[in-house]
């Protein structure tokens, strides 16, 4: 048999039907649902008199609109509250394998709760009305974000209309330096291939540096595959994948577990499999990264400078850089380390898992945030992450450092709740998008790793976490 890529294995095992032009119907195993992109889909289903095809494929939670403090007061914003209550009533009516509503102890960001509950398993197709669904590819799932019409389509038919993607292998070989994390790796990749570099591709991340990452780290990398333009990111199954999933609430057990594991071990690209594109990075060359612009590809190493648009030859790119620097309030050639910040956000589906919080706490331990920093928010990815962090005493470290320890949710990654930047405020953020207005109208976002975010909080400006003893 011809050598196959992991993507090809996942694709071919889910094809139900193919049209003449190659458009395929692929079967969907897991449908993750949240409050923002589902109400119109539920309504469409109802209006057409249709029922969900397989209710047990649905795992739902409320995460985008939920507040991260004063839960006893409920959701203050009536528009947010209505959206969350609409999800409550839709799930009550339709059903689900699991629903983790606002205030539930297992509530959290949809891309955190799926894996931690074993609701994301290798070999699955996973969809969600959310572009960061690519996160789940860390478990060798074919996972991607879809629009609301597709949410309705999956509910009604358990399938998705798709064209096969091209395949890209991003190899990162070698050993990552101390203080260099999964976030720095993926930002460096995006800096290399650009935000449209992965458009039309499913990206498999491989190489020894990727293999050495924990599952949390792999999720961080796959999470931002979409920021490189790829709908899906993938990492092959290995012993770490299997160990992570053992005994999770929805993981198989007993003899079925053994059968599943046997199958999961086949979920890797075969030796000699052909990729349409291959990109290689040397792990040892990757430094802690900081974005300086309004697109994740506008990124520099911590010891670098804000680039000068005058040196860019492509006029569309040059204008984009000029506009970005104007929005960000930055002058060309400023050392990144000289950029002072107003706020810090540690959280989001990119970096809110236990390992991320440990990395931030490691930097914050015994230190205090700079007086010039107005607010440092630490928002765990789920109720379970929060409980684990508290059991390890991380909350106390953060509070002692002057950080705020909050309830789980998407929070200031996209500022649909009350957590947001004011116009002109500059933020070191562990989230995934530095677009204009993303964290609040007029807000300025710099994407960094959790350790680098904590280091910026302490210093009051960007600082090289490798230099903090």
């Amino acid at each position: 048999m011809q050598a196959q890529t992991l993507y090809e294995k996942l694709w071919s095992s889910h094809v139900v039907h193919v049209e003449d032009d190659g458009t395929a119907l692929i079967y969907i195993d897991r449908h993750l649902v949240h409050e923002v992109t589902s109400p119109q889909a539920f309504e469409g289903l109802k209006l057409a008199g249709r029922k969900p095809w397989r209710v047990n494929s649905i795992v739902a939670t409320a995460d985008h609109n939920t507040p991260t403090d004063h839960w006893e007061m409920g959701i203050q914003d009536p528009v947010s509250r209505q959206q969350v209550e609409t999800l409550d009533s839709n799930i009550r009516e339709v059903g689900a394998l699991a629903y983790f509503p606002f205030k539930d102890e297992r509530q959290g960001i949809v891309h955190v709760i799926g894996p931690e509950n074993g609701a994301t398993l290798p070999g699955m197709t996973v969809v969600c009305g959310d572009s960061h669904t690519s996160t789940h590819g860390a478990f060798a799932c074919l996972a991607h974000g879809i629009g609301t019409s597709e949410v309705e389509h999956v509910m009604a038919t358990q399938c998705l209309l798709q064209k096969k993607s091209k395949t890209m292998l991003v190899r990162v070989d070698g050993v990552l330096g101390a203080g260099v994390t999964a976030k720095d790796v993926v930002l460096a990749i995006i800096g290399r291939i650009g935000t449209a570099g992965g458009t039309g591709y499913a990206i498999e991340f491989g190489g020894s540096a990727i293999r050495s990452l924990t599952m949390e780290g792999r999720m961080t990398v796959c999470n931002m595959a979409i920021e490189a333009g790829a709908r899906a990111g993938l990492v092959a199954v290995d012993e770490q994948t299997i160990a992570y999933l053992k005994d999770r609430p929805f993981s198989p057990r007993g003899e079925v577990w053994d059968r599943a594991v046997e199958y999961w071990r086949t979920l890797h690209s075969d030796d000699g499999a052909h990729f349409d594109a291959v990109v290689a990075l040397d792990a040892a060359q990757i430094k802690p990264q900081v974005t300086w612009g309004t697109s994740p590809e506008m990124v520099a190493p911590i010891d670098g400078i804000v680039p000068d648009p005058a040196l860019e030859k492509d006029p569309v790119k040059r204008e984009g850089m000029e506009r970005a620097l104007q929005y960000m309030g930055l002058t060309p050639r400023t050392p990144i380390k000289n950029v002072a910040i107003d706020k810090v956000f540690i959280g989001s589906c990119t970096n809110s898992r236990i390992e991320d919080l440990r990395a931030a706490a490691h930097v914050a331990r015994g230190r205090r945030k700079a007086d010039s920093v107005k607010q440092v928010l630490v928002v765990p990815g789920s109720g379970l992450v929060k409980r684990q962090a508290e059991a390890e005493g991380l909350d106390k470290i953060f509070i002692a450092a002057g950080f705020e320890w909050r309830e789980p949710g998407c929070s200031m990654c996209l500022a649909m709740n009350a957590d947001r930047l004011e116009p002109g405020e500059r933020c070191a953020s562990t989230s995934n998008r530095n677009f204009e207005g993303r964290q609040g109208a007029g807000g300025r976002t710099h994407l960094v790793s959790p350790a680098m975010a904590a280091a910026a909080a302490i210093a009051g400006h960007f600082a090289d976490v490798r230099e903090l003893a």
């Binding site: 528009v79 597709e150 449209a196 506009r323 204009e436």
Partner: protein, 212 residues
Amino acid sequence: MNPFRKLDGLVAPMDRANVDTDAIIPKQFLKSIKRSGFGPNLFDEWRYLDVGQPGQDCSTRPKNPDFVLNQQRYQGAQVLLARDNFGCGSSREHAPWALEDFGFRVILAPSFADIFYNNCFKNGLLPIKLPASEMDALFAQAAETVGYRLTVDLETKTITRPDGKVIPFDVDAFRRECLLNGWDDIGLTLRHADKIREFEARRRIDQPWLFA
């Protein structure tokens, strides 16, 4: 969904790369549980000088005179010229809903983000990829001529410029068929319900852990 066959429409230029869906429709408007009414908030942060709130009457808000879609000559535009990677970022279908609600039916760009591209077809909006050189020429012509229009014909897969030049474009046969007829995807897929059931039954046996 409204079918799309042929359109002769006024053209507006959006001359910047990497226009993301957060810019197309900012997050506060995603709190709506409806599919319609997003047009007044299309490009909200660029279009108005204040910060918009959901449910607000936009007719009295201060408009940014420098924003291209606020210029008199582009009022009523149905064809949008864009640059690389249009629609990147969030999967929010509110972005095509807002563009469609505003009046756009066609978007021309050298490249689109995948999820956005896909979402357009579900909403009677036609995204067309053209070579960068063709786009440059269209941007130049649209800037020169007030009232610049293009004829977009999905049946013949061509765009006709006012000077008579015909630009062919490519679109997947299946998507084209759906858009030409305004077909509902779900109805089409359910024609294969037996195949789906068969696939599912096999899967239940091969990988029972997926059906816990």
